[in-house]
């Protein structure tokens, strides 16, 4: 019995439990939906691009905040705002920006992306400035900031959805793929051929970000300090680590990461609406916690968080495939969030 236990422990050290959970979920859903329909390439790619344009990247920011014992509820708002800024710049109708659209679309795109990232950094640093210097609960400041971002996004939207058309370069970010395969699709009596991207740009961006942060968290002082703050704040401070700077950077990076999601999401939808991305902050928390982060900080890794994000995406996609109504999905996701955090809290209490 003990051997079995230690065997399982050794296995979970190499292969996280969550990966097994993910596999289990895929099996259950394919059984429910029917493997032919569920495991179809187009559905798999759909899950992946949904993940990379939604919870996938945001979860990384949630993980950073949670790892340093905080929480960031402004992420969804930043996704919305950053996406809106991108869309507004790309569709500007007057001034130099409008001119650039025809003369130098690449430059315009670069400006839009940089501006969007800058806005993310700015909103993130607003959280960071306050939370690194005071002991105000992080949820309340980031909640306030969420409102600010959402409003700015609404104001920029001017009451309607901003649609982006004729910007193939931009669409490539969220919808493009470096490699595609053609597939015959049977629709009733008609047969047609469709191209399905198997190497989506957005997924690549996501994987690259995770790779980058995996290195940052493991191999840089900043990453070590984030873990150290989560493990023992006083000890970290006593060791001469600049905890204020570290916490500030956590929220700043969170803002930038959320902005990346905003850009990808807007590109995938080729439109920005103020409602885009709202709610992702809680999906991100759920993903990070499912992945193994503890609300008390200092646990989990970027890769584990990615698995958590995939689980959330598979769950949402599976619910839709099964034909679960939106309302039931809301209920299910809410329940999952509570259960996951409750298990985490119980686990930590035992520790």
């Amino acid at each position: 019995m003990n051997e079995l236990k230690s065997g399982v422990r050794r296995l979970t050290r190499v292969v996280p439990m969550t990966l097994l959970l993910l596999a289990g979920m895929v099996i259950v859903f394919s059984a429910l939906v029917g493997p032919a329909k569920y495991l179809k390439l187009s559905n798999i790619m759909n899950v992946i691009s949904q993940c990379s344009s939604g919870v996938g990247i945001v979860a990384l920011a949630s993980f950073l905040a949670i790892c340093s014992t905080g929480v960031d509820l402004s992420l969804g708002g930043i996704v919305s705002l950053a996406g809106m800024v991108t869309a507004r710049i790309l569709t500007a109708e007057t001034g130099t920006l409008a001119g650039l659209r025809t003369s130098a679309p690449g430059l315009l795109l670069a400006i839009a992306i940089l501006a969007s990232l800058a806005v993310g950094a700015l909103m993130g640093s607003l959280n960071g400035v306050i939370l690194s210097r005071t002991n105000i609960p992080s949820f309340i400041i980031t909640l306030g900031n969420f409102k600010i971002c959402e409003t700015l996004s609404r104001v920029l939207a001017g009451g309607s959805t901003v649609r982006i058309s004729n910007m193939p370069q931009f669409e490539f970010i969220g919808g493009g793929s470096l490699m595609s395969v053609s597939q015959t699709v049977q629709q009733g009596a008609r047969t047609s051929t469709r191209m399905i991207g198997i190497l989506p740009v957005s997924a690549l961006v996501m994987v690259l970000l995770y790779l980058l942060f995996s290195i940052i968290m493991k191999r840089t002082r900043f990453g070590t300090y984030v873990y150290a703050i989560g493990g023992n704040y006083e000890a970290t401070e006593m060791s001469g680590v600049n905890t204020t700077k570290t916490r500030f950077t956590v929220f700043l990076l969170g803002g930038v990461i959320a902005a990346v999601t905003g850009i990808i999401l807007t590109s995938r939808l080729t439109a920005a609406s103020a409602a885009n991305g709202l709610g992702l902050e809680f999906d991100g928390i759920a993903a990070a916690v499912v992945g193994g982060a503890a609300m008390t900080g200092g646990r989990s890794t970027p890769w584990r968080t990615l698995i958590g994000a995939l689980i959330i995406s598979v769950l949402r996609n599976g619910f839709s495939m099964v034909g679960m109504a939106n309302s039931l999905q809301m209920i299910a996701i809410g329940a999952v969030l509570i259960i996951v955090v409750a298990v985490d809290v119980a686990k930590n209490r035992r520790r």
């Binding site: 840089t220 970290t236 060791s239 001469g240 680590v241």
Partner: protein, 501 residues
Amino acid sequence: MSDVILELRNICKEFPGVKALDNVSFDLRKGEVHVLLGENGAGKSTLMKVLTGVYHPNSGEIVLHGNKVSFQTPRDAQLARIAIIFQEFNLAPNLTVAQNIFLGREPKARSGLIDRAKMVRDAQEILDFLKVKIDPNAKVETLGVAHQQLVEVAKALSIDSEILIMDEPTATLSENEISALFDTIRNLQKRGVSIIYISHRMQELKVIGNRITVLRDGQTVGTCEASEVTLDELIRMMVGREISKVRTRTENTAREETALEVSHLSQGNKLKDVSIRVQRGEIVGLAGLVGSGRTELAQAVYGITRRDSGDISICGEPIQNPTPIKCIQRRMGFISEDRKECGLALNLPIRVNVTHAGLKSIFPGGIVDVRRERKLAEDYRAKLRIVTPDVERNVVNLSGGNQQKVVLAKWLSTDSAFLVFDEPTRGIDVGAKEEIHNLIRDLAVNGVGILMISSDLPEILTLSDRIYVMREGRIVHEIEQVTSETTQEEIIAYATGGAEQ
């Protein structure tokens, strides 16, 4: 051996109402282990905090290598190669041993990333020097307490410390681990590291120490060579002043009814088969060193922590799984040693705090009669002489002694028959202390059973009818009848294990 590297000259440190250090002088020679000995509250920790820049002295000077220095922050002290290993845990449990050792000072490779190989190598080198078998890549949380302590030693060494302060390093260690630690200390000595060693444990002082300095009431009693002093002499130095042997309570008012009966109580390695009894009308002292299990015993009785086994009955009623609510129903009260954390709602007024423990009994209908509440608070204010302009004042604005009186008022208003006082007068000025003592006596005379935990031996001796002494989770001694012949030496000897030598 005799070149002095550090000198503390005439250090004075005052806190509001308390003179914590009064003209203390201390010196440290290269490569020696200098033991700092004293009762709780004698000023050892304060002195070390002054040395490491946590506190700034009111007067006096610190001389390091013949130069006068002044540390503003702990970091300054670190830069001057002075490291301290605190009693409380000071590592990040989720990081590896190597990461903890070099936290804040990670070596960087040319790429700008942390040079992990070098970090692990350097950590291994230090661990090898300490002759401990710990994997530098192991997470600290997977290590036992002893190894964690050694990681702290390694961390202190990694900044190439010249002076190492160890605050009760053996408090949580087993015999084997202690001897390993002592080997380490001897190794360090050979390397020329000087060690200030704070401990209560009599047995080990003479084993590891070269010199011993005794502090008492914030003053230096004396410094002596460890080889030339006996344990009895040390105990006498710690205790010092002959307290008035006139016990103020002459008659024993103990009654037939039992207030508390604990039999064979055990809890992990904190409490081992503890049995005690308190009669109503009796004051029972519970003596012992910090960490000997005194507070843990009281907390287990009160249901703050879970016990593993043993029976508890309060005022004759057995209690299965104690909780504070059940204990209060059985007329028990608990005056915690930690007023700020466990005793008071600091940002609420005195009036409100006074009724917190007796809400149910004072206002059985659930409706608060504010006038009655105010009158109650005013009564206690007058009775206990709580110094405050009015009872609407938030407790946080009161002095320590007055805060403690509010805690007392809270428990007096519940009409308890059994009260636990955990360090009732710690950090309280002399006047208030006397008042609280009188109050405890009055309570006993009126039939309240009292269990008093105190590190203040004169307090224990003057107030108690009976005394239990605890050490390492056990009751090691009971003084059935405290008389004018009972001495502090007797208690200290049992509490420190000196009596077994």
